[in-house]
């Protein structure tokens, strides 16, 4: 068995990329500053694809893309991750001619985000090899673009949404090949999503995901909210990542306004975030084992998770830690008498996990199922820019807590577990390792809990401002872009869940596996449907 991989960052440097870009491509010369990123460059529309090409040459990681309607222009923004920070590219398009070269030829990860922009704004991406609709199902027509400013918040709902039955899945033909449609309604209580398999016997030839069934219009709903409302909305984007999204949104707004919460509030946010990570990883380890019929692990992990979440409720006031992160800080605290209890809990869990994980990882009948199942190669992980445990199992290590540390992680050493195999077993193992790393971080955070106010006032609001929040949630890098108007109301909120980059990996890693192994592969990736569908 191969061991943990040494620390490794593959992406190029910001400065080199910027020099190369400004030399080759017509930039308008403007370098606006967006708090949260190293540099923000304005690129001419026609150079959009070329800029991506250069970024790919420098092995930058494509992280997110979103658009914004600022009449009379559309702004399209793309976020690139470098080894020493993040870099924004921005371009302006006239309302009359919303066309832009696609970045997908250079970065396959841009596929769905660009289609999302196309459905939401009506911006056409030329040279996009797959311009089918993505987020738009049948709830609004192809001529309506919900995120344009002239689209009313209430929309124009039909009395009854027609069934979404004409999505053109890519066909595969041949003798004996059959299609298996799965979902969006499943036999278990899980989120809705459609999977279309083309199989030859039990061998998967092709898998196509069709998501968007939990689209709630989060981006539109955010418009006009105040900061408290934004934090509440962000916390409800995906229930299992409520702290990560809440923190990212608040961080973006705070950076935009140029305020920084007290060190105590930031440490408490990190404690909440690590607690969320531990709870979800525990749940996932059990669920992965349960998907191959090994109930013992599910029961053990569920028990640990339940005890952990009960303490969440007892100490922080919510089992899932929802609405604990608020703009300007947090609204919960750890009183000194709770500290011994928290340390004891951490020690107890560490003992349990150190006992349980080696057992699961060496259990023959379980490992027979998990090893060599659903392999995501190192190259593919890098090419797709997969995040979190999915990336780390394939040695794509990016972890914001280590690579681009934000307070309070800049004071801490974060170990990032990484492996080469990229199979289900390693994705399970990374989770177990991360639980232990998080427990250590929690201990350090609790030992040196600084003093300070829990929440500070974010006002006064005077000008239109924007900011980017970047938080390492339990699924990976969680991004939030926020633009506020002069009165402190949200003009644009775009959250990017790590699932955007991990879902496409599932389509690839399932190839060469058999149909009955799909559930465990899916669980090992565990993308968020709600976080992706927005």
């Amino acid at each position: 068995m191969r061991r943990r991989q040494p620390e490794q960052v593959t992406a190029g440097k910001v400065a080199e990329f910027v020099t190369h870009l400004t030399r080759t491509v017509v930039t308008t010369g403007q370098k606006s500053t967006v708090p949260g990123v190293q540099v923000c460059l304005d690129v001419a529309g026609e150079d959009w694809g070329k800029a991506a090409e250069i970024a790919a040459e420098h092995t930058l990681r494509w992280s997110a893309a979103w658009a914004e309607h600022l009449s009379p222009d559309f702004h399209v923004v793309c976020l690139l991750a470098c080894s020493d920070g993040h870099c924004l590219l921005r371009t302006r398009l006239a309302e009359g001619r919303p066309e832009l070269p696609s970045q997908m030829p250079s970065f396959p990860a841009a596929n769905r985000p660009e289609r999302h922009i196309q459905d939401m704004f009506g911006i056409r991406f030329t040279g996009h090899p797959d311009p089918r609709r993505w987020t738009r199902h049948q709830a609004w027509s192809a001529k309506e673009f919900p995120l344009r400013k002239d689209f009313p918040l209430s929309g124009s709902p039909q009395l009854k949404t027609p069934p979404d039955c004409d999505y053109p899945f890519v066909p595969v033909s041949g003798e004996g090949i059959y299609e298996i449609p799965v979902g969006p309604v499943h036999a278990g209580i899980i989120e809705p999503g459609h999977f279309r398999f083309q199989a030859d016997g039990e061998d998967v030839l092709r898998l196509e995901e069709h998501l968007g069934y939990v689209h709630r219009g989060v981006e539109k709903l955010a418009e006009g909210r105040d900061l408290a409302g934004l934090a509440r909305l962000a916390g409800r984007l995906s229930g299992d990542s409520t702290v990560a999204h809440g923190w990212a949104a608040c961080q973006a707004a705070e950076r935009a306004l140029g305020v920084e919460p007290s060190p105590r509030a930031l440490a408490l946010r990190a404690i909440l975030c690590e607690r969320e990570r531990i709870a979800n990883h525990l749940g996932d380890i059990g669920a992965i084992c349960n998907d191959v019929g090994f109930t013992f692990a599910l029961v053990q992990c569920s028990r640990l998770r339940e005890l952990w979440q009960r303490n969440n409720a007892a100490i922080f006031g919510h089992r899932l830690l929802m609405d604990r992160v608020v703009s300007g800080g947090v609204n919960c605290d750890i009183s000194p008498e709770h500290l011994p209890e928290l340390f004891a809990e951490i020690n107890e869990l560490r003992v349990r996990v150190e006992e349980l994980m080696p057992m699961l990882l060496e259990y023959p009948s379980l490992q027979d199922r998990l090893r060599t199942t659903g392999i995501l190669s190192v190259e593919l992980a890098q090419q797709l820019g997969t995040l979190g445990y999915v990336g780390r199992a394939s040695n794509h290590q990016d972890d914001l807590r280590r690579d681009a540390p934000y307070a309070p992680y800049d004071q801490l050493v974060v170990n990032v577990p990484a492996y080469l195999e990229g199979d289900v077993a390693k994705r399970t193992r990374v989770r177990g390792d991360e639980v232990l790393v998080s427990l250590e971080l929690l201990e350090q955070l609790l030992k040196s809990l600084p003093e300070g106010p829990l929440q500070i006032d974010c006002g006064p609001f005077a000008r239109c401002c924007e900011g980017l929040g970047l938080v390492e949630g339990w699924r990976g890098e969680t991004v939030a872009y926020v633009r506020l108007d002069e009165t402190g109301r949200v003009m644009r909120y775009f959250p990017r869940d790590p699932s955007w980059l991990n879902w496409p990996a599932l389509e690839r890693l399932i190839l060469g596996n058999i149909v009955p192994d799909f559930p465990v592969c899916n669980k090992s990736v565990n993308g968020s449907y709600a976080g992706h569908d927005l």
Binding site: I180, H186, D291, G293, F294, S365, D368, P516
Partner: protein, 314 residues
């Protein structure tokens, strides 16, 4: 007349005891996993609930789909009625021998697989194809085990097999040990237990037996599930009474019958514990490991046959 009445009672006990055995296995599993778990009689509640529920039929369903639950259940119940559960020497056991028993199971499976494919959903077809793959490998192993036993006791009739074992001198047959192990593996595969199939899963893509009955509702579903429980019960009785025959009533007196009932109950409960322990300790196999698993079962049964020929033929 007395014999017929007893036979009917015995078949009834088998059918009505079957849900308890399934519930018992589930209950023991829950206890092994430190869970509260539903009581062992929960399957009775589930079945009675399903019997009261409305039947929903797909527009695509043909009469085969509607007939299949009744056929599958009655064929399985018929198979149960020829089992010498409490007593041997009942008139029903003369009707059929163990090869017919295998035939009954094949007939039930045929209709089950047809029903799975009938409505044309992807899952049903997938389940049917997997079921046929598993059973095509399980059946030869099962027959090989049966032949080994038949050669040892010089009969294919279940009742006379048990009688011959009971009246003969107590001795250890190596062939029985091999055949017994082989039959245990076949039982696991045929009744859809871990590690071949997972009866508790909600993941459509991994199912075998459950995939075939996904489209069933109400009474139909109840019959299908009851038939599956009955099948587990029959295999349990088969193993219990062939390999540990002591306690089965030969003379039909109230005393021997009571002992017979107590004996089979005890044996089945014990067997349920063994099954639960195995299911808790193992993860489900990858689907394409099933042939190796059943290959092992076949080899064990073959070894039983060979050891009989080499060691036991006088």
């Amino acid at each position: 007349m007395n014999g017929w009445a007893l036979a009917v009672i015995q078949a009834g006990l088998l059918a009505f005891g079957a849900p308890f055995l399934s519930g018992w296995v589930k209950w023991v599993k829950c206890k092994l996993q430190c869970r509260q778990g539903p009581p062992p009689w929960q399957p009775y509640r589930d079945l009675s609930k399903l019997f009261q529920k409305e039947i929903l039929l797909s527009d695509q369903a043909s009469p085969v789909f509607r007939m299949a639950p009744y056929l599958v259940f009655s064929v399985t119940a018929l198979a149960g009625s020829v089992m010498p559960t409490i007593a041997v020497g009942l008139p029903t056991s003369a009707i059929a021998d163990v090869i017919v028993l295998v035939g009954f199971f094949a007939l039930a499976r045929f209709f089950l697989a047809l029903a799975g494919m009938d409505v044309g959903t992807a899952f049903g077809g997938m389940g049917s194809s997997r079921e046929m793959m598993v059973s095509s490998l399980a059946e030869p192993a099962m027959l090989m085990a049966v032949f080994t036993l038949a050669m040892t006791v010089s009969s294919t009739n279940l009742a006379s097999m048990i009688v011959n074992l009971l009246v003969g001198p107590v001795q250890l047959y190596p062939s029985f040990i091999f055949a017994g192990m082989g039959l245990l593996l076949v039982t696991v595969a045929e009744t859809g237990r871990i590690p071949v199939d997972n009866p508790a899963t909600h993941l459509e893509l991994t199912m075998i037996h459950e995939a075939m009955i996904l489209e069933y509702t109400g009474r139909h579903l109840a019959l299908m599930e009851w038939a599956a429980m009955l099948k587990l019960m029959i295999y349990g009785v088969l193993i219990a009474n062939l390999f540990i025959p002591w306690g089965v009533a030969i003379a039909l007196t109230p005393m021997t019958l009571a002992v017979g009932l107590a004996a089979i109950t005890g044996k089945l409960l014990l067997l349920g514990v063994v099954l639960a322990v195995a299911e808790t300790g193992l993860a489900k196999m990858r689907l394409f490991r099933a042939p190796q698993f059943l290959g092992l079962a076949f080899i064990l049964c073959l070894l039983g046959m060979l050891s009989h020929v080499i060691l036991e033929v006088r």
